[in-house]
Symmetry: C2
Subunit: 200 residues, 2 copies
C-alpha cells in the first residue's frame, strides 16, 4: 500500500507508458489531470479517443488525415509535380514551417531497417510508385532523416524510381546554420566540403 | 496550415496544457498515442475519465479515494492516535515509501498563502479539528513542505491545536543524507546546528 487509490495508480500507470515520462513525472501529470478543470480533463480524454477512432491515412500521401484527403493534398494551390518523401507524419509540420516547399508529401511510415525487421514491403512504397506512375510528378525530394536508415531508404527509393521520368533529389548535408566549425563532427564537415557551393 | 489535421492538433493541444510539457514534447506524446496499441490508448482515455468521475475525498483523512474511506483509514492495523498532516495527496506515497510511519494522514489540500488568496477556510482544517476533537489522537506531525507557506501553515495549525490535549510535532530540518556541507545553504545549516542531537 502506498496511499494511492486504484484510479490514481491507474492514471499514473497510463502516463508512465508514454516515452520519456518516468514514474515521478507520470505521477505529477496524473495529479495535475485530477485537479484540472473538469471540462478540460474530459476534452483530453475525448481528444485521445477521437484521434484513435477517426484518424486514417490520406488516400493520396498517406499522412494522417481527418478526411479522405488531407488538407495539403486537397489544396489546389500546391504544386502537384513535386513530392517530398518523409518518414513520419510529424516530419511534415517541420518542413511546412520553413514555407519553402509548396509541393505535396508522401509519408513512408517508417524506414528500411533490417535490424528491426522492417523491409520495403512494410512501408508505403507501392503507393508512392502508383502516384509517380500517373505521370504528373517531375521531382521527388528525399527528406528522410540523415541517419544510416534514412540514407539507405533514400538510396533504395532512388534506384526504384530510376525507370520513371523523374528527378530524385536529397536534402543537402552541411553545417547547421548558427553552428561552429569547432563542434562539427568529421562526417558532417566532409559532407559540407563535398557539397560546397559557388558564392558568386 | 502546418500539415497537421484537426484531430492531431487537438491532441497536441491537450498534452501541451500539462505542466512542464512544451509544444515539441506535446507533439511527440500525441504521435505516440496515435501510434500506440489501440487498447492501451482507450485505457488511457478511460483512466482519465474514471479518475475525474469516480474519485472523491476520503470521509476521514480527505485523501483522494475510490471508496468512502481510503485504504489507509480503512486499515485496522494503522495507529489511530497518530496523524500526519500533509499539503497534497501526492505527499502520502512519499511518506509511505519510508515505511517509518504507521499512523493516519490528513490532507489539507493546500497551504495558507495570502499572496495566492488562500486562507485557512479554503483548507481542510475544520475536518482536522473535528477528528482531533473526538479525543483518540495523541500526536499530530506537521509534514508540510519546508517553505515559507509550509512553515506558516504548520505554525498556524499548531496554535489552533493548542487547546486540545495533543502533541504537535514538525519534521526535522537538517542536512539531506548523502549531501555535502559545502553545498548546504546557510539556512539549512543553521537549522541543522539548532537541531543537533547527542550521538551517544
Amino acid at each position: 500500500m502506498n496511499g494511492q487509490t486504484g484510479y490514481v495508480s491507474r492514471l499514473i500507470e497510463s502516463f508512465s507508458k508514454l516515452p520519456g515520462i518516468g514514474r515521478k513525472t507520470a505521477s505529477r501529470l496524473a495529479y495535475h489531470v485530477i485537479h484540472m478543470n473538469y471540462e478540460e480533463a474530459m476534452e483530453f480524454a475525448a481528444a485521445i479517443v477521437d484521434a484513435r477512432e477517426n484518424l486514417h491515412y490520406c488516400a493520396c500521401c498517406q499522412n494522417l488525415s481527418d478526411e479522405e484527403l488531407c488538407p495539403i493534398c486537397a489544396d489546389d494551390a500546391r504544386d502537384r509535380s513535386l513530392i517530398c518523401v518523409v518518414e513520419r507524419p510529424r516530419d511534415i509540420p517541420s518542413i511546412e514551417k520553413t514555407r519553402e516547399f509548396h509541393g505535396l508529401y508522401h509519408v513512408l511510415h517508417g524506414l528500411i531497417s533490417p535490424i528491426d525487421g522492417i523491409g520495403p514491403e512494410q512501408l508505403k512504397i507501392k503507393e508512392l510508385l502508383e502516384r509517380v506512375g500517373k505521370g504528373d510528378v517531375k521531382e521527388i525530394i528525399m527528406a528522410t532523416n540523415p541517419t544510416v536508415e534514412g540514407e539507405a531508404t533514400a538510396l533504395y527509393l532512388a534506384r526504384l524510381l530510376n525507370p520513371f521520368d523523374v528527378t530524385v533529389t536529397r536534402l543537402a548535408f552541411g553545417l547547421p546554420v548558427g553552428g561552429d566549425l569547432e563542434y562539427a563532427d568529421e562526417v558532417t564537415l566532409s559532407r559540407a566540403i563535398e557539397g560546397r557551393q559557388k558564392i558568386l
